[in-house]
Symmetry: C6
């Protein structure tokens, strides 16, 4: 993995709103894939695969849910 890729934008889990926290969850899950497959052309090709595959789309959703759980706890659920 390229150590030069930033894994957490802004280097914080704290966000102003749940919506921003959700966006961060999406970004964090994508950055792991980017770090594992740094070639943008390959990632673009794979995007065409998973965007049409329901099993993969569901798995992406599950992964984002896991990231979001951590972010939501960090923000005390924006209560």
């Amino acid at each position: 993995m390229s150590q030069t890729i930033e894994l957490i934008p802004g280097n914080t889990l704290i966000t102003a709103t749940p919506e921003e926290g959700r966006q961060l969850a999406v970004k964090m899950s994508r950055l792991i894939i980017k770090a594992t497959q740094p070639d943008a052309a390959v990632r673009e090709r794979l995007r065409g695969v998973y965007a049409e595959d329901p099993t993969m789309l569901i798995a992406i959703g599950h992964t984002v849910a896991a990231e979001f759980a951590t972010i939501a706890a960090a923000n005390n659920y924006w209560r």
Copy 2:
């Protein structure tokens, strides 16, 4: 992902009841899929696939469970 798609309706995890929290979990998991596959026609076609596939239906259930865990904690379990 299109940044114009709202990922959390109402921008809050707080709901009046467990039932509404469960509905939010379903919506949030669907919005991630929508953000990943913005083409409504493709999503409609994929729906016909996963709605008949038990493995995918179970995986959807698992994903909703993960989202709901976060929402339930946010609402202090509606105790």
Copy 3:
């Protein structure tokens, strides 16, 4: 998803006993599948598939475990 399907029977996560909490976990996981595939005939056909497939049975177990974790926390583990 049909909005007329009740997703959480009784609209509460609180149960009198762990056994009832476990039953609720099973019901909640099934209701997500019901909401995603409202056709009872299709669900009945799929039941014949997953009840004979060890991978699917294990995945069902994992999903119920996730739902139960939330219910158990809601009930302070019935301590």
Copy 4:
């Protein structure tokens, strides 16, 4: 699912030791499979399948881990 199957032996998550808690996690995960596939002959046949399949064995381990997490929390980790 047959409502006559007991899903949590003893109707409690509290155990005297971590070892007993772990055994309970195994039992609880098996009882969900039993409730979903009540036919003992079918379960015995499927056992011959998953006991030789590494993917399924790993998935069983993941499911038990999820059940155990809840049981361990219920017992305040036997600290």
Copy 5:
């Protein structure tokens, strides 16, 4: 499952260090597989399969992560 297999070495989740906690997570996940497939010769054969299969290796990692989450919480994260 053979009831004679010890599922948690030492019958405690408490360890002196994170490293030992991680080793315990690995052992606990393996003991579930051992309990499910008590035949050492079969397990040895399956090891040759999963050690060369990236999907299975990733799934093992996910399972260990789940076990470790519980152990880490039990030890108050060794703070």
Copy 6:
């Protein structure tokens, strides 16, 4: 598993920043794979497989999310 492989670099879950915590999550998930498949040549070959497979990349992301959840909690979310 080779007992000589260090599973948690630095033998602590505490990190100075979320970014470092995320890097630790990636390392910890990789070290489990390394411990399970100690042959570097095999791991290098498998890397060529999973780096081009969207399902595996998503599964890696899910695993890292699980490790990170524990690390984030250990660090009180760097609040």
